[in-house]
């Protein structure tokens, strides 16, 4: 999976939970500052990404992420390590 493909998956899963069109979620979107996302919603984003990507996601990684692009970077390196 290329980084662009991965970014699309992340943006669409985030958009599902936040309840907005995927186009409104960009890599610079700060979920806490712009969408007031709470920890339970972050967990839900994590479970949806786990299903989509078939990999375990540590909740603390999600808590640490600054914005969507940062999350894509983290997942991208994780998936590459697995390969």
């Amino acid at each position: 999976m290329t980084r662009d493909e991965l970014a699309e998956v992340v943006r669409s899963r985030v958009a599902e939970v936040v309840g907005v069109p995927t186009a409104e979620i960009t890599e610079t979107t700060d979920l806490r500052a712009e969408h007031d996302v709470d920890s339970l919603e972050l967990m839900e984003i994590g479970t949806r990404l786990e299903q989509a990507l078939g990999t375990r996601i540590d909740a603390s990684n999600l808590m640490d992420m600054r914005n969507v692009g940062h999350a894509v970077d983290l997942l991208h390196s994780r998936l590459r390590e697995r390969v």
Binding site: V18, V20, L40, E44, R48
Partner: protein
């Protein structure tokens, strides 16, 4: 001093419509809303039909984000309560600690849990993070408290098919005692799913008229053969008379009496002579300071099961003697929405009393098999004087609740 309790707002989400006027108009036609449910038909289940709330626009009630965090019970409950809240013209509360919420639900999120188990039973490690918040029985009460900043008590009552009526009665007591000024009181259930419907079917409680769903729910009729599953929600805004008057609220009617007791007899069957149910009605009348002759009509529990309707007819005769008031049985049109039914029927009873019109019982033809001793309204709306109404709810477990509403 004991506070009188005013009803200042009502909201309904039912199979006959999602607005109060729409529901009352549909009930006046005396038709059933039961229809085949594809999910049930596809599986070849013993019962393949139900009364379902039609799809409605949820955007006035929920953002897409919130909608994904609630199950259908809470979705219906919050929508109905929001309608009631708007109807009452309530705004921000001066003292949110003196506002409360009482909710009744029979099976809560059981159908949602069924769906979770079907989808994730083999891999629980994949469960959504929102599983618990959607499944917990107090989900509707919690959502309402958060939405409206309500800081008083918010209990959820689980008393099977009397749950919604119990929530209304218990809410009334909290106002009478002086503990609270305002209570959002109601009930909700959404039990139309393969496992839940089949569970009730397997105990022999449901009508098997799969080939003619619209004729299946027929309370008090000789040809009845069981109840029809429904779903829905109803909420009332209960308010101390003083609080309602002080804010210039429009008062719809008075919640005047509440009776509650138990059969202590059988886990699902009612006492055949209806004696405990009759006592429950008398408790509600005494609480209202009224006698049987003061009641203009009864909104019966009337499930369309053979045993319930016969026992209820006996109970009504026990309480009212041979002078039966006109009897409405809303489940003929709406099916049995379990914990929601008592709240829906409370609203229907109140509005029937206020409007002086009792809706006919769908599919009722004759009661020669034992229910003819009560005056079942059939065929067309019955005009009555604007007198107090008594609304009955009887539940599995042998729980009974009766409420008395009076027009202003």
């Amino acid at each position: 001093m004991t506070q009188r309790v005013a009803v200042t707002g009502i909201g309904l989400k039912t199979p006959a419509g999602t607005g109060v006027e729409q529901v009352l108009d549909a009930l006046a036609e005396g038709r059933s809303t039961a229809a085949a449910v594809p999910d049930l038909c596809d599986r070849g289940l013993p019962v393949t039909f139900a009364c379902r709330v039609p799809d409605f626009d949820t955007t006035p009630y929920f953002s897409l984000r919130e909608l994904r965090q609630v199950d259908r019970v809470a979705m219906l409950a919050v929508s109905a309560a929001a309608d009631a809240f708007a109807d009452a013209g309530l705004g921000p509360f001066a003292d949110p600690a003196r506002v409360g919420i009482t909710v009744g639900t029979g099976v809560a999120a059981l159908s949602f849990v069924e769906q979770l188990v079907m989808e994730y039973g083999g891999s629980p490690e994949r469960l959504p993070a929102f599983s618990v918040t959607r499944a917990m029985a107090n989900s509707a009460a919690a959502r309402l408290a958060i939405r409206y900043g309500i800081q008083g008590p918010a209990p959820t009552y689980a008393m099977a098919c009397v749950s919604g009526a119990a929530a209304i009665g218990e809410g009334m007591l909290k106002i009478r005692s002086g503990q609270l000024d305002v209570v959002l009181a109601g009930g909700a259930d959404a039990p139309v799913s393969p496992v839940v419907v089949s569970s009730f079917a397997r105990m022999g409680a449901m009508s098997r008229r799969n080939d003619d769903p619209a004729s299946a729910s027929r309370p008090f009729d000789d040809e009845r053969d069981g109840f029809v599953m429904g779903e829905g929600a109803a909420f009332l805004i209960l308010e101390s008379w003083a609080h309602a008057e002080a804010r210039g609220a429009s008062i719809i009617g008075e919640l005047r009496g509440y009776g509650s007791n138990s059969d202590a007899h059988h886990i699902v069957a009612p006492r055949e002579d209806g004696s405990a149910a009759a006592r429950c009605m008398r408790l509600a009348l005494a609480d209202a300071g009224l006698g049987p002759a003061d009641i203009g009509h009864v909104n019966a529990h009337g499930t369309s099961t053979v045993q319930n309707d016969l026992a209820e007819a006996h109970a009504i005769v026990d309480c009212f003697g041979t002078a039966s008031p006109p009897i409405a049985a809303t489940k003929g049109s709406l099916g049995h929405s379990l914990g929601a039914s008592g709240a829906i029927e409370a609203v229907v009873a109140l509005m029937s009393a206020v409007n002086g019109t009792v809706p006919p019982v769908a599919n009722f033809r004759s009661g020669h098999g034992g229910t003819s001793m009560v005056d079942v309204v059939s065929g067309a709306v019955r005009k009555i004087p604007p007198l107090p109404a008594l609304s009955n709810s009887f539940g599995f477990g042998g729980h009974n609740v009766s409420l008395v509403f009076a027009p202003c």
